[in-house]
Subunit: 154 residues, 3 copies
Amino acid sequence: MHPDDELRRLNLALPSYPAPTANYAQYRLVGDLLYLAGQNPRLPDGTLCTGKLGRDLTTEEGYIHARHAGLNLLAVANEVLGDLDRVTAVVKVFGMVNATPDFTDHPKVINGCSDLMVAVFGRERGIHPRSAVGFVSLPFGISVEIEAIMQVRL
Amino acid sequence: MHPDDELRRLNLALPSYPAPTANYAQYRLVGDLLYLAGQNPRLPDGTLCTGKLGRDLTTEEGYIHARHAGLNLLAVANEVLGDLDRVTAVVKVFGMVNATPDFTDHPKVINGCSDLMVAVFGRERGIHPRSAVGFVSLPFGISVEIEAIMQVRL
Amino acid sequence: MHPDDELRRLNLALPSYPAPTANYAQYRLVGDLLYLAGQNPRLPDGTLCTGKLGRDLTTEEGYIHARHAGLNLLAVANEVLGDLDRVTAVVKVFGMVNATPDFTDHPKVINGCSDLMVAVFGRERGIHPRSAVGFVSLPFGISVEIEAIMQVRL
């Protein structure tokens, strides 16, 4: 099934292309590898999800935020490639969680992004190596930020 | 010398292949680059080494934990490649240390992994660029987590 | 304009090649990708810039420290390549900020490195995807550490 159909099936819509908030680019394509900048949990209306896991948010709320960060990764890939079906593999994900010193459920939070990738691209293309770890603070107080590398059909 | 012989010389054994603890893969091979998921300091009996550097553990204990994380990286590479001698270069290591705000010896901790890579693959193949930095918290309270990219012979 | 000329125009000089402070290399070249180790905000006289953003340093001071880390990235690239003009693209930057739990201006700090890359290589070659995030502690108490991947002309 086409990634766009999977998104519809999940009742999810891609947000608009996120404008960089500083002097950087959202992506760089080198060979067939698409490097994506760390994406925020930005809602379709532009609001940023904020808060610290272990203090302000439940793991379930963090999971939803990570899915929003994943949707922004897909929005950038879709804009660059014109068609999400050109993604041949999710190569790597780095999941950054705004967390307290004693928080331990980073993997469950970042699953919000990983589950999305597997659902949208199917298991073979969408499954990926990753780390999901705790940061003392993130820009604008956002709850999660997620980077990815994707392999694409040229 | 073959990496397996170096491991025997060091009196170290590879742990079993680590099952992913969430919805991700342990690796992705793209071209001749093997991307490895962040590995835990998992002992051969499955126990995870936990604790925070600067509070619960000495730098020397952290060094041993980082070596265990490195052995898990090698266990994944060995499973994927069938033969560790197919690793032609350790391309990049990212060493994540569960640490207090005032800890400063992250490099000495992550040397536990870097020393292992250099010993097992020899200096030319095993030496690598890296960062070794402090995280406010890591999954399950583990003390270190380490990612790597390796170049392999196809 | 040649990157060396841009550096002169900015009245900036490359520091000497930084010796690794532990068992790692400053770089690994694989294909046309140059992976650079995390660089410190090391001044030309060897002093390391230290301190925590949100407690010890202003965002403006952090910006200058990030520029020093960027200059060390350029010093390594220049030593490896012999000529900075062989850099065809800054592929990825990872900006690590030593920060308090409530700091939120990581992007403004890491702009010190990103602005340098764009100025030295020009916008098309120098602009890059990145993340700029908060670490609970960094080696030797440094204020920032920055990793990069560059594409180079072989």
